[in-house]
C-alpha cells in the first residue's frame, strides 16, 4: 500500500463518519471568529435555540473593519466612527459575551488579524483542523494543520456540531527546490506559483508545498505561502512539520503544557507526507529562477517578474483570455508592453494576513532605513498584523525607522487589504500592496492594486515606482543604528 500524504493523515485523524454518498463528517479542533462572517451564524444559533458544542475550541477577534488610527482606536468600540462597522464589532463583542466565547477585543494587545493571532497565540497547532469564515484560513496549514475557509452557514454548523460535512479533496504537491536569490522571498514564490498554475489551478486540491526552498523558510514565510493557496484555487495549503514548526510553537500561550509537550511533539513529527505517498498532481518550480514578482492585472495570476513587462493582448490567442487581459488593462490604466518598473505609484500598503508579521516588518524596515518616501506618493502605511507584532516592532525600533522615512505607523487590523475601514485607495490610484488580492475595487472603488513582497513594496515607496530590489542601491541620507 502506498504511503499517505500529510493531507491524508490529517483527514484520517479527524474522520468522525464516512458516508456512502462520498461525504464525511470531519471533526474541527479550532474555529477562529471575526466580526464580518459570524453575526448571522450566532443569529442562526439563537433562532434554533442551539448552543455552541465546545466553547474552548473558539477564539474571536475583530479585524476586518476596525479602524487603524490611534484617534479612533484609543476610545475602543465606541470610537469607531463608521456606524455600520461599529455595530458589527459591537455585535461580535456581545455575541462572545452571550455565548461565553474567548475574545481578544478591539484594544486587547492580543487583538489582530485572525490569521496572525491564531499562530501567535499557539492557538494554531500542528495536526489540528482549523476553520474560520475567511478564505485566508489556509494560512494555518503552514503548521501541518488542516485549515480552510468556510462560509457563514458552516461557521454556524461548526459552532453547533463541532464538525463539518466534507468531501475529500485531491492531493497536489508543489515542489520548490533550490535556493532563492538575494531579495527574493516567500511572497515571490507563491505569486510565481499562482502565475504558473492560474487562479483555478488548485481548485479541488489540498496543496502541499515541499522542497528545499520551502524547508529553508521561516514559519512567517511558510504562512505567507499557505495564505495565498486560495488565490490558486486551493482551499487548503500545507507544509509538513519540522523543527522550525516545533520551535515556533513552543511556549506560546495556547501551546501544550510541559506535562504533554513531549507527547505532542512526538505526534507532530509524524505530520509529513510519507516518502512513498502518491499525489494526484505534482508541479515543480526552481527557486533560483524566481524573480521578485509584481502583479499587473486584476487577478493574482496576472503577475510577472520585475524585469518583465505588461502582456500585450494581441499576443494572446484564446479569445476569453484575451478579453480578460484587455478588461484588466483598461481597469488598471496600463498598456501592453509597458515595463513594470515604469508603473508610477500613488500609495504603498504594508500589512494584511499575508505580510504583516514581524519578519515582514523587519524586511521592509531594512529597506527603508535612512531613506525617504518619494514625494510623488500620497501615502505609505504600515499596519502590523497584531498588537503583539506592533509591540515587538516598537521594541526593535522599527516604528521609528518607518516614521522617519515618512511612513504612517498604524494600529493592527486588515486595513487596506480589503478596505472595509477608512483605509482605502481612491479611484485610479496605483498601490504597491503586500496583500493578497488585486481584484477590481478590492482596495477601494476604482483602486489599482499591485501585489508584491514587503521588501519590494518598501523600495517602491522610496522610488515612487517599482524597482528591482536585487540591484537597487538607494542613497541613504542618514545612518540609523
Amino acid at each position: 500500500m502506498a504511503g499517505r500524504t500529510l493531507y491524508d493523515k490529517l483527514w484520517d485523524a479527524h474522520l468522525v463518519q464516512q458516508r456512502d454518498d462520498g461525504t464525511a463528517l470531519i471533526y474541527i479542533d479550532r474555529q477562529l471568529l471575526h466580526e464580518v462572517t459570524s453575526p448571522q451564524a450566532f443569529e442562526g444559533l439563537r433562532l434554533a435555540n442551539r448552543k455552541p458544542w465546545r466553547l474552548d475550541s473558539n477564539i474571536a477577534t475583530p479585524d476586518h473593519n476596525v479602524p487603524t488610527t490611534l484617534k479612533e482606536r484609543s476610545i475602543g468600540i465606541e470610537g469607531i466612527e463608521d456606524d455600520t462597522s461599529r455595530i458589527q464589532v459591537m455585535t461580535l463583542d456581545s455575541n462572545c459575551t452571550d455565548f461565553n466565547i474567548e475574545q481578544f477585543g478591539i484594544n486587547d494587545e492580543r487583538q489582530g488579524i485572525v490569521h496572525v493571532v491564531g499562530p501567535e497565540q499557539g492557538a494554531t497547532l500542528p495536526g489540528m483542523t482549523v476553520v474560520c469564515g475567511d478564505s485566508h484560513t489556509a494560512t494555518h496549514g503552514a503548521f501541518g494543520a488542516l485549515a480552510h475557509g468556510i462560509g457563514t452557514s458552516e461557521v454556524e454548523h461548526v459552532l453547533a456540531t463541532q464538525c463539518l460535512i466534507q468531501r475529500k479533496m485531491k492531493n497536489l504537491k508543489i515542489q520548490v527546490d533550490g535556493e532563492l536569490g538575494e531579495g527574493v522571498t516567500a511572497k515571490d514564490i507563491i505569486l510565481a506559483i499562482i502565475g504558473d498554475i492560474g487562479t483555478a489551478g488548485g481548485t479541488g486540491y489540498a496543496m502541499e508545498f515541499a522542497g528545499s526552498a520551502i524547508e529553508a523558510l521561516s514559519m512567517e514565510g511558510r504562512m505567507t505561502i499557505c495564505n495565498m493557496a486560495i488565490e490558486a484555487g486551493a482551499r487548503v495549503g500545507l507544509v509538513g512539520v519540522d523543527q522550525t514548526t516545533i520551535d515556533y510553537v513552543a511556549k506560546r500561550p495556547f501551546a501544550p503544557l510541559e506535562d504533554v509537550w513531549e507527547q505532542a511533539v512526538m505526534r507532530w513529527q509524524e505530520l509529513v507526507s510519507d516518502t512513498d505517498a502518491e499525489f494526484d498532481k505534482v508541479v515543480h518550480l526552481d527557486a533560483a529562477k524566481i524573480e521578485p514578482q509584481v502583479s499587473w492585472g486584476t487577478s493574482p495570476e496576472m503577475v510577472v517578474g520585475i524585469t518583465g513587462a505588461v502582456p500585450a493582448p494581441s499576443d494572446i490567442t484564446d479569445a476569453t483570455k484575451r478579453r480578460g487581459v484587455e478588461r484588466a488593462l483598461e481597469y488598471m490604466g496600463l498598456s501592453g508592453g509597458q515595463k513594470i518598473t515604469d508603473i508610477q505609484l500613488d500609495r504603498v500598503f504594508i500589512g494584511s494576513c499575508t505580510n504583516s508579521r514581524i519578519e515582514d516588518l523587519r524586511a521592509a524596515a531594512e529597506v527603508v532605513k535612512g531613506c525617504r518616501v518619494s514625494p510623488s506618493l500620497k501615502q505609505a502605511m504600515v499596519v502590523p498584523g497584531s498588537g503583539l507584532v506592533k509591540r515587538m516592532a516598537e521594541r526593535e525600533g522599527l516604528d521609528v525607522v518607518f516614521k522617519q522615512a515618512g511612513f504612517e505607523w498604524r494600529e493592527p487590523g486588515c486595513s487596506m487589504c480589503l478596505a472595509m475601514n477608512a483605509d482605502k485607495l481612491g479611484a485610479g490610484e496605483h498601490c504597491a500592496s503586500t496583500s493578497n488580492r488585486n481584484f477590481e475595487g478590492r482596495q477601494g472603488y476604482g483602486g489599482r492594486t499591485h501585489l508584491v513582497s514587503p521588501a519590494m513594496a518598501a523600495a517602491a515607496a522610496i522610488e515612487g515606482h517599482f524597482v528591482d530590489i536585487r540591484t537597487w542601491s538607494p542613497s541613504r541620507t542618514q545612518e540609523s543604528a
Binding site: V36, G44, S85, H157, A200, G204, G233, G441
Partner: protein, 213 residues
C-alpha cells in the same frame, strides 16, 4: 431554505471568467449583520455608475446601461450563465445571499471556486457545471435569442433547452437531497450527535493538549 425541484427561467449571460466574490458583492456591504437585503447591491460596481454605500436607496442610482443585468431583455432572469472559476476569492456567504436575493436560483458555468460552490448550495442555489463547449453554445444561443429560457430539472438532473435538446448534469447526491427537501444540514448532523461524542472522547484521550477544559 426553499425547496428546489424544477425551475424554468429566463437566462442572463455574464460572459466573463474568474468573476470574484468582491465583484459579486463589494466589501462595504459585508458590514450588515443580516442575511437578507443584498440583492440591490449584487455586482454593484458593474451595475451602477457611482460608488455604492451600505443602507443606501439604490432605486435612483445611475445604472450602467452596458451591464447585462440592466438590459430590458434580461429583467426577471433567474438563471445565470457564466464562465470558468465563477465565485473565486473570499469565503463571504454574502455572495450567494446577494445572488439569491436578486432572484437567481441556478448558475451554470464550466467551473466554480470551491468555497463559493459550497456556500451556494447551502442557500438553495443550484450550481451546474457544464463543459466549455456546451457553455459556449448556450452563451451564443442566449445572446441571439431574446427571451431565452431554460427548464432545469433537478430530480432528473437535466436541462431542457427551447429547441428540445436535453443536457444532463451531475450533482452531488447529498447536496441534491438537501436542495430537494430544503434541509438545514445542522439538524442532519446533530442526528449524529452520539457518533460525534464517541469520536470526541477518544480523540481527547489521544490529544489532551487540544482541550483546555
Amino acid at each position: 431554505m426553499d425547496k428546489f425541484v424544477r425551475k424554468q427561467g429566463l437566462v442572463a449571460p455574464l460572459d466573463r471568467s474568474n468573476v470574484d466574490t468582491d465583484l459579486i458583492i463589494p466589501k462595504q456591504f459585508l458590514k450588515s449583520i443580516k442575511r437578507t437585503g443584498f440583492g440591490p447591491n449584487l455586482f454593484d460596481e458593474l451595475r451602477y455608475l457611482d460608488e455604492g454605500f451600505p443602507g443606501q436607496d439604490c432605486t435612483n442610482r445611475p445604472l450602467n446601461p452596458e451591464f447585462v443585468l440592466n438590459q430590458a431583455r434580461y429583467q426577471g432572469a433567474s438563471i445565470l450563465l457564466t464562465r470558468e472559476n465563477f465565485g473565486c476569492g473570499s469565503s463571504r456567504e454574502h455572495a450567494p445571499w446577494a445572488l439569491e436575493d436578486f432572484g437567481f436560483r441556478v448558475i451554470i458555468a464550466p467551473s466554480f471556486a470551491d468555497i463559493f460552490f459550497n456556500n451556494a448550495f447551502k442557500n438553495g442555489l443550484l450550481l451546474i457545471t457544464l463543459d466549455d463547449a456546451t457553455v459556449e453554445r448556450l452563451m451564443t444561443d442566449v445572446e441571439q435569442t431574446p427571451g431565452y429560457r431554460l427548464d432545469v430539472d433537478l430530480v432528473g438532473q437535466c436541462i431542457h433547452t427551447p429547441d428540445g435538446e436535453t443536457i444532463e448534469f451531475d450533482v452531488d447526491a447529498f447536496r441534491k437531497y438537501c436542495l430537494e427537501n430544503g434541509l438545514d444540514d445542522i439538524g442532519l448532523t446533530l442526528q449524529q450527535a452520539d457518533a460525534i461524542r464517541t469520536f470526541e472522547a477518544r480523540y481527547k484521550a489521544d490529544n489532551p493538549w487540544l482541550f483546555r477544559s
